[in-house]
């Protein structure tokens, strides 16, 4: 009872204070919170109020944390960067903070996690105790360690997929913008077709053929090689200008593609390579469209004309004139693209078709431990919440960057 009285007294005092000092938006927020709490108190009673106060406390803590983190970053950064950072909204600072934490978790996973990712340390579904912060999963592996390792595996895969999608899409887009003509039209139609199949469905179709537990190392290394050759040919088409350079370039491309495929197969296993390639192919058309649009606006500028008259080749134009003038939207698109790729990989892993066990991964952990939910446990939701949190964080940062680069103040 005292809790309820204190709760409403605090809210009322705060909202009156806000109104008195003419803080209009703070007043609106606090007073609407008061009204909502009234309704919640009538329906849900004290637990409802407690829930609201916990949520508000967490929001406040997150806000303070991100404020402190922003100050920390501005103190560290150079003068110009600091000026930019000071304009960042709190949400963006929060996003950077989360990304920072996840990066630390992923990079230092073996040092942070108390157990190995596939190490069986107790009975199945053992409750949390002194050794295991979050209890054990369906095979008796430590949940906490697996979540830490998941940050490494899931995010690394999504990052690789995004980078490949980006290289393919951006290169094709830049080339289409500079070359124009049939090449442009052909690439555009290809992008149209790929984008007119829902991404999850397309991924399922490709995975049913190449992927999952049946992925074979030969197929995956061939596919990786093929992908590298296609990207290399795009580079070659931009850089080469005579028959000799085509020939030399082709040899280099073949060599680099071979090395790339070799490196890929040593780092990832077969099904992971297939997964990366599938998401790269599905999401490259988005990058292509954006790059083509952005580069298309740059190509018509006078300084490009001047460079062409100077006798510069396509490769120089792309590298020194077009790219530097279209970085801002491309960087923002990279963040957005990462969100899509990350959610797709998480979804596929959740369906049991993405990252294969025993590799720890946030999506498949949710599925494996889903039975716990029917006993009212929230542990299976933690990896899912981690996925959501990281995606929200990236989105917040991207929002800020888009706002900054477009100069929109609405």
């Amino acid at each position: 009872m005292i809790f309820v009285i204190l709760y409403f007294a605090l809210l009322l005092v705060l909202s009156c204070g806000a109104a008195y000092y003419n803080q209009r938006s703070a007043f609106l927020l606090l007073f609407s919170l008061t009204l909502v709490s009234l309704v919640v108190a009538i329906i849900g009673g004290i637990p409802g109020l407690r829930f609201i106060s916990i949520a508000a406390g967490m929001l406040l803590a997150a806000g303070m944390m991100s404020y402190a983190f922003r100050e920390f970053l501005t103190a560290l950064a150079s003068d110009e960067m600091a000026k930019e950072l000071r304009t960042a909204p709190l949400t963006a600072a929060f996003g950077m903070f989360v990304i920072f934490i996840v990066a630390i978790m992923g990079i230092f996973a073996p040092a942070i996690a108390p157990y190995g990712e596939a190490e069986i340390v107790s009975q199945a579904f053992a409750p949390p105790d002194n050794n295991m912060l979050l209890g054990a999963d369906q095979l008796g592996r430590d949940m906490f360690s697996r979540i830490i390792y998941g940050a490494r595996n899931t995010v690394a895969l999504a990052l690789c997929g995004t980078v490949l999608a980006f290289i393919l899409g951006a290169m094709a887009g830049l080339l289409a913008a500079t070359k124009g003509g049939y090449f442009d039209g052909f690439m555009g139609r290809m992008a149209d077709v790929i984008m007119s199949i829902p991404s999850l469905i397309f991924a399922l179709l490709m995975l049913s053929i190449f992927g999952g537990s049946l992925a074979s190392p030969q197929t995956s290394s061939w596919l990786l090689f093929g992908f590298a050759v296609i990207v290399g040919l795009l580079f070659l088409a931009a850089a080469a200008y005579s028959l000799v350079s085509w020939l030399i370039g082709a040899a280099i491309v073949a060599g680099v593609a071979f090395a790339f495929a070799l490196a890929g197969t040593t780092i990832f296993n077969a099904s992971e390579i297939i997964l990366i390639l599938v998401v790269a192919i599905i999401y490259s058309p988005r990058v292509f469209r954006l790059t083509r649009a952005v580069a298309g606006n740059v190509v018509v500028m006078d300084y490009i004309e001047a460079a062409k008259l100077r006798g510069e080749k396509n490769w120089y134009l792309i590298r020194r004139e077009i790219l530097p003038n279209s970085t801002a939207p491309l960087v923002a698109e990279f963040g957005l693209e990462f969100c899509f790729v990350f959610l797709l990989i998480a979804g596929l892993s959740f369906l049991g078709l993405g990252i294969q066990p025993p590799t720890a991964d946030w999506g498949s952990m949710v599925r494996e431990n889903a039975t716990l939910i029917s006993f009212g446990e929230i542990t299976p939701l933690i990896p899912a919440a981690a996925i959501a949190l990281l995606t929200v964080a990236v989105n917040f940062v991207v929002d800020w960057m888009l706002h900054r680069s477009s100069g929109l103040k609405e």
Binding site: S25, A26, L28, L29, T91, D192, V193, S196, I197, P198, S199, L200, I201, F202, L204, L205, M206, L207, S208, I209, F210, G212, L214, S216, Q218, T219, C339, L343, A346, G347, F350, L351, G352, L353, G363, V366, R367, A370, I373, S374, F375, G376, I378, P380, L381, A384, A385, I387, A388, T391, V392, N395, F396, D399, E410
Partner: protein, 318 residues
């Protein structure tokens, strides 16, 4: 009127061509399979005689293009051959499930469309206020959450803790319509949350775009009351973007439905697709993909055609 008809006709033709190309991709993707379907069915240890017999039975000894034409011809009449795992007709496997999925999507759409459009307009009118910012953050969080996260949260609270709705959306024969609505409430709500966030943001963007145009400013300056500015000046031009938003998000529902069906064990076509993929039941995978892609294209078409039809400049040519 002639202009509109040609525009719509062109757009329909383009949709048809894209659908054809997609059917090509779906069919020839399976041809890329290391080995072939017969090999995939019988496994690595199959004897050459068995393989040859199965190939003949499945018609694999004919050239791919002939098989493609036959497959496409059957697919147009909704006959997708038979499953290679259970031997049942694909149409029987997915026919009823497709209706279930449509029901779920329609259920979600009926709730999500009006609510999110109204919310989107309100948020657009209140733009840059504290409510707008809160709505922005909340909707961004919903968009960023995977569908299974929202689904399991709803199960945890509404089904396990409070016991208000069933956690598993199993359907049975002869259920009354109300029962059906109750059983499928949680999956529908999950879809509503995701789609609503998208739709609200897009509606907001469209309306803000519109309110920034000079003729709205003009209407305000000449002293028209605010409701009249919205109803008479803004709305006729807002239909096109709103229809676009609705159709695009319904298309988005299609992808979301797969994950939601798996979370709630709902007997829909998405679950059938996931099962078929893990069992490598290619005829079912092909059929499901074709249906999903066709629906997706259809909705995108509807968006474009709707935008053309509601464009006042096209309806009243000079």
């Amino acid at each position: 009127m002639g202009d509109i008809l040609t525009l719509v006709g062109k757009r329909l033709g383009l949709g048809l061509i894209i659908l054809l190309v997609i059917s090509l991709i779906i069919f020839f993707m399976v041809e890329l399979l290391p080995g072939d379907i017969a090999q995939a069915v019988l496994g690595q240890s199959a004897t050459p005689e068995n393989l040859a017999a199965l190939r003949r039975e499945m018609g694999l000894d004919q050239p791919a293009i002939v098989r493609y034409l036959a497959w496409l011809g059957d697919a147009v009449t909704l006959d997708f051959g038979s499953s290679i795992v259970t031997d049942a007709r694909v149409t029987e496997i997915i026919g009823e499930r497709f209706m279930n999925t449509l029901f779920l999507a329609a259920y979600a759409a009926v709730i999500a469309v009006p609510v999110s459009i109204i919310l989107g307009v309100i948020v657009a009118l209140l733009r840059n206020s504290i409510f707008d910012r809160v709505a922005n953050v909340v909707s961004l969080s919903f968009i960023s959450s995977p569908e299974f996260f929202l689904g399991y949260i709803l199960i945890l609270y509404f089904a396990v803790k409070w016991g208000m709705f069933p956690a598993i959306a199993s359907l049975s024969e002869g259920m009354s319509f109300l029962d059906l609505l109750e059983r499928t409430f949680l999956p529908a709500l999950t879809l509503v949350l995701v789609v609503m966030a998208h739709m609200m943001r897009m509606t907001r963007a469209a309306i803000i775009n519109l309110l920034a145009s000079p003729y709205i400013e003009m209407a305000r300056l000449k002293g028209a009351p605010p409701w009249k500015v919205i109803v008479k000046h803004a709305l006729p031009n807002a239909w096109a973007p709103i229809i676009n938003v609705v159709a695009l998000n319904l298309a988005y529902l299609i992808t979301g439905v797969v994950l939601v069906e798996v979370v709630f064990v709902y007997p829909g076509i998405g679950q059938a697709l996931v099962d078929a993929v893990s069992k490598r039941d290619f005829p079912v995978v092909q059929a499901c993909c074709l249906i999903f892609a066709a629906t997706f294209i259809l909705l995108n078409l509807a968006a474009d055609v709707g935008a053309i039809l509601t464009n006042p400049r096209l309806r009243h040519p000079k």
